[in-house]
């Protein structure tokens, strides 16, 4: 494989192609007749996935450094370049994105019946934005992708969303923008300070990283960190910045919810891993900040789970469960141990698979009955057994049943953070129990119980198209649950490098082995 990739000098063009292909696809959809829009989008997203798959082999993740670096001056007058690169962490995020997009397109085939051209074009533009966020190594470029992504999502929610879509779209937009604008000021101040010290104005990530630890930066670091923190915490979302999430999730069309949960939320945690913590480790690991973040993470875990439990709307239940799951990711990241960070990354990926699948399933149910009220269902297992089986498996994965992917991440996070934060970890563990409570209870009310509603008796089971949408996710859920080693191995050097940057010390190699055994 690697020989073939080298023979087409894959590494030289792949990152640019990943950004360009969806944009060109969007343009093609715009010009093509409306009837072929969805098929064209499917072809483009599949091509994008096939293209990106080569990254698995071609990116050298052994060193944990950014690879495939490329930089072209963009606005040289301001020290801005078009600079991209990829490491083990970005690799997984990019693959997660490209894998989900064809499923999102395929999953929308029946549910989106109006303004198809616009819908699929926006999905493709969104793809470029998401990939751009994960591979940008220039802060200006990163910021542009981070913001530009808002527009397609805003329209996806606002045009194809549910009843209360206008409110949800605006809330989503304003919340995210509020955080990122402050980050913009922080980036500018950082660049300014680095320019004073180095004599060059540059928005390069590496340039800023090398000056981030200097004493002059140290004086403003708390404020800069605060700005970055807000931007990313809103995106994650951490309690108490999560209020936009339930609205956006519930009102978004199925594909929008899937993308929101599976990719967009990960941008927050990715931002912490890539920017906020490596830039300002001293602030992030100061006692006060550490205490606040860990407390908020634990509150998020428990609060999200408790609120999820009482939701009458199944989509809202899953939305709140995201708050809970991402709390684990935050806890693991802050623990700063290899297990913690690896666990956080696994939570990010695992949540992408299982919550993505849950949203797809809910969407499919909604298309059949046009309600998301849990109380409107009951006894579905007898009517639609395949659907019920898949829903059960995915729910169990989300709960964290050993052997499925949810378990690996949460378990790693819990052991990874136990030494640092025993009390917080103990409290977080209850989140797992609550997760079992809310999901199993929901399952009981949806697919078990008595089949007492006449309108539920004629629901058709999953079609072949829907099965095709769900299968890759199911395979991923089981594969990463049983054998997460390849994924963990790809990310481990990058995670170690992250820890080295933030903790200022190398991590001994032998620590990770037993954990991997356990996870297996």
């Amino acid at each position: 494989m690697i020989n073939f990739l080298n023979s087409v000098s894959y590494n030289a063009w792949i990152l640019h192609a990943l950004l360009a292909v969806p944009l060109l696809g969007a343009l093609a959809i715009f010009l093509a007749p409306a009837g072929v829009a969805k098929r064209l989008a499917l072809v483009v997203t599949l091509a994008e996935f096939v293209l990106s798959a080569g990254l698995w082999w071609s990116v050298n993740t052994i060193n944990g450094t950014m690879e495939l670096l490329s930089s072209t001056p963009w606005i040289p007058g301001w020290g801005i370049s078009y600079a991209v690169g990829i490491d083990g962490i970005s690799l997984m995020m990019v693959l997660l994105t490209t894998m989900l997009m064809p499923l999102c397109v395929l999953g929308s085939f029946n549910s989106i019946t109006q303004k198809e051209k616009g819908y699929y074009a926006l999905l493709l533009i969104l793809t470029t934005g998401m990939i751009g966020v994960f591979i940008a190594t220039d802060m200006f470029l990163f910021y542009v992708f981070w913001e530009v992504m808002l527009i397609p999502m805003y329209f996806l929610i606002g045009i194809w969303g549910g009843k209360n879509r206008l409110y949800a779209a605006l809330k989503f937009f304003v919340y995210t923008m509020a955080g990122s604008l402050l980050m913009l000021v922080a980036i500018l101040v950082m660049v300014r300070v680095a320019a004073v010290m180095s004599g060059t104005v540059s928005f390069s990530y590496f340039h800023l990283l090398s000056y981030a630890q200097s004493p002059i930066m140290g004086r403003v670091a708390p404020w800069l960190f605060l700005a970055f923190f807000l931007a990313f915490a809103i995106k994650v979302p951490m309690f108490p910045f999560h209020t936009w999430l339930p609205d956006a999730h519930v009102e978004a069309p199925t594909a929008g919810s899937v993308i929101l949960a599976s990719v967009l939320l990960k941008m927050g945690t990715y931002g912490f891993l890539r920017f906020a913590l490596p830039f300002f480790p001293n602030v992030a690991y100061s006692q006060a900040v550490e205490g606040i973040v860990v407390t908020l993470a634990v509150i998020g875990i428990i609060y999200g789970a408790l609120v999820a439990m009482v939701q009458p709307d199944i989509k809202k239940l899953v939305a709140y469960s995201s708050v809970s799951h991402l709390g684990f990711a935050m806890l693991g990241i802050w623990a700063g141990s290899i297990q913690g960070v690896q666990g956080a990354l696994m939570v990010m990926i695992g949540h992408g698979f299982s919550t993505g699948a849950l949203f797809f399933l809910i969407g499919m149910l909604y298309e059949r009955r046009h309600t998301r009220e849990i109380s409107a269902y009951g006894g579905l297992a007898r009517v639609i057994p395949v659907f019920s089986l898949i829903l059960t498996v995915v729910s169990l994965a989300s709960i964290g049943l050993p052997g499925l992917n949810g378990f690996v991440g949460e378990f790693l996070v819990l052991i990874g953070s136990f030494r640092e934060y025993p009390v917080a970890t103990g409290l977080a563990t209850t989140g797992v129990i609550f997760a079992a409570a809310y999901l199993l209870w929901a399952l009981q009310r949806l697919i078990f119980n008595r089949l007492d509603k006449p309108e539920n008796q004629t629901i058709p089971d999953l079609t072949r198209r829907e099965l095709i949408v769900l299968m890759p996710l199911l395979v991923g859920i089981v594969w990463m649950g049983l054998y997460p080693k390849p994924v963990l191995d790809k990310m481990e050097p990058a995670a170690r490098r992250f820890i080295m940057t933030v903790r200022g010390m190398p991590v001994p190699g032998e620590e990770v082995v037993p954990i991997r055994e356990v996870a297996r």
């Binding site: 606005i75 007058g77 301001w78 045009i159 779209a169 304003v174 402050l182 000021v185 101040v189």
Partner: protein
């Protein structure tokens, strides 16, 4: 580089060629009106002649700019540097845009009076004098030549009470502003014995800032603050913007702002560059107040035209932040943002002009619901404009805002930067509903937007504006370099001296 002695009549004439071309065209249009002023075709003819004049002036301007003229001998009356040329170009673009928008608008609204274009050209020449003034007397003359035709233009719709109100209101407030400015000039002259900005600057550098000069510069700031509609001198703006015919509003919002801000930058940096500490707090306060008040009040407006009036106050605040920086980066950011603002505002008002009738006062966020369904291109253009005004990445507005933020953070005023981004966030609260209404709501009826058709001339103006907004939003390098060099050519004489 060619030297040009401005103290000789020939030198001054060459330096003022663009202004002279515009003034001459104004006279030609006036003569033309004398025997052809009856029909809509006559009005259009005058418009095209005016546009040709603007084109000729632009050609002359570009030729002068490329010749790389520099002043030989002492500075005299009018500046001769890249900053002036760049700002003149912006003024000419604003005028050309306003003419293109007016051509069919006047016919539709039955405002057949070809003098309109003569007035517009006279105002343009006034703006050019104001933007290029190197002497306080020229500055005042430019301001008056600019203002008087615009008073008339604001009241141009004789049949509309609101238009008349706009005219009289603007006239009264403008008279006050002129008085403030003139008094300020008198005090500065009293303190320094000079009217030439460079000489004033030298005197201030030598003797320091006397209280009299400080009051003088504050009064000049107030006078120009009225013209650019900064808080607390903004009270006239909403009513005047609202009442005036829409192309005139577009012209006021763009041309007057360009001229006013460029004059302000020149006065503050050339004349009072050494005593930056005196005026920075004032400008900073005005900037913050304008951003806060403009954005918050815009939130509660129903009429889009009125909302844009308040938003233009907010934009004045953003630009004042750049002026506040008092540095080369600040001067450059002022130009860049003005460029973005001119293009976006012209396109926005161009579209607004076809969405309603009779001055477009009743075009609300609700009445444009579902525009995207019947008029996808116009909807798209308006959306791009809204995102550009919001300062969203991918549009020219973002580049401008980025330049301002860079300039402000470089001078270590993080509070101003934070006020800027937070108020920008507030502005999402009134720009986004427009987008939302266009795309996410259903039209009131199927025929709701049948009348929303851009006439050919306005279509070109809007299309070029929107394309440029997008192009410069993605590849702004040429403008970044251009504005920086323009600021340097002017700052080179000033900033090196004061060591900034």
């Amino acid at each position: 580089m060619t030297g040009l002695n401005l103290t000789t009549p020939t030198g001054t004439l060459i330096a003022l060629l663009p202004e002279l071309v515009v003034t001459a065209t104004a006279l030609i249009v006036l003569l033309l009106n004398a025997w052809r002023h009856q029909t809509a075709a006559d009005s259009k003819l005058a418009g095209w002649v005016a546009l040709a004049g603007i084109g000729a002036a632009t050609a002359v301007l570009v030729a002068l700019w490329r010749a790389g003229l520099v002043a030989e001998g002492p500075p005299h009356m009018v500046a001769l540097d890249g900053y002036r040329f760049a700002s003149l170009l912006l003024v000419l673009i604003a005028s050309a845009g306003a003419i293109l928008l007016s051509l069919d608008y006047l016919e539709r609204e039955d405002l057949i009076a070809p003098e309109y274009y003569a007035l517009l050209l006279m105002a343009t020449s006034g703006m050019m004098f104001l933007a290029g003034a190197e002497d306080l007397i020229v500055l005042f003359l430019g301001l008056e030549v600019m203002s008087v035709p615009i008073y008339v233009l604001a009241a141009f719709n004789r049949r509309s009470v609101l238009s008349a109100e706009a005219g009289i209101k603007y006239f009264l407030v403008g008279a006050f502003a002129s008085a403030f400015l003139l008094y300020g000039i008198a005090l500065v002259y009293g303190a320094t014995g000079q009217t030439s900005l460079t000489a004033v600057g030298a005197s201030i550098a030598q003797h320091g800032m006397s209280p009299m000069a400080a009051i003088g510069v504050a009064l000049i700031l107030i006078g120009l603050g009225f013209k650019v509609a900064s808080v607390p001198f903004h009270m006239w703006a909403p009513d005047v913007y609202d009442g005036a015919p829409t192309p005139v509003t577009a012209y006021m919002a763009t041309g007057v702002k360009v001229a006013g801000f460029v004059a302000l930058v020149r006065v503050l940096m050339v004349g009072f560059g050494t005593s930056i500490d005196t005026w920075q707090p004032l400008v900073g306060t005005l900037a913050a107040a304008s951003m806060i008040v403009g954005n918050l009040v815009a939130l509660v407006q129903r009429s889009i035209k009125r909302m844009l009036a308040y938003s233009s106050i907010a934009h004045a605040g953003y630009i004042l932040s750049a002026v506040w920086a008092g540095s080369r980066a600040g001067a450059s950011a002022t130009l860049l943002y003005l460029g973005a603002y001119v293009l976006t505002t012209l396109a926005t008002f161009g579209i607004l002009g076809i969405l309603g009738r009779g001055g477009e006062r009743d075009v609300t966020v609700d009445s444009i619901a579902g525009l995207a369904r019947n008029r996808p291109w116009i909807a798209f253009a308006l959306t791009i404009c809204m995102f550009s005004l919001l300062g969203f990445p991918g549009t020219f507005g973002f580049i401008g805002k980025w330049a301002i933020l860079t300039a402000v953070t470089a001078e270590h005023h993080r509070l101003l930067a934070i006020v800027l981004v937070l108020t920008s966030l507030v502005s999402a609260g009134y720009y986004l509903p427009v987008v939302r209404s266009i795309y996410m709501r259903e039209p009131v009826s199927d025929q709701a937007h049948d009348g929303a058709v851009l006439p050919p001339a306005a279509k070109w103006a809007v299309a070029i504006g929107v394309v440029l907004i997008l192009v410069f939003g993605v590849i702004p390098q040429i403008l970044v370099t251009g504005s920086d060099q323009s600021a340097a050519s002017f700052a080179g004489t000033v900033l090196d001296r004061i060591g900034r």
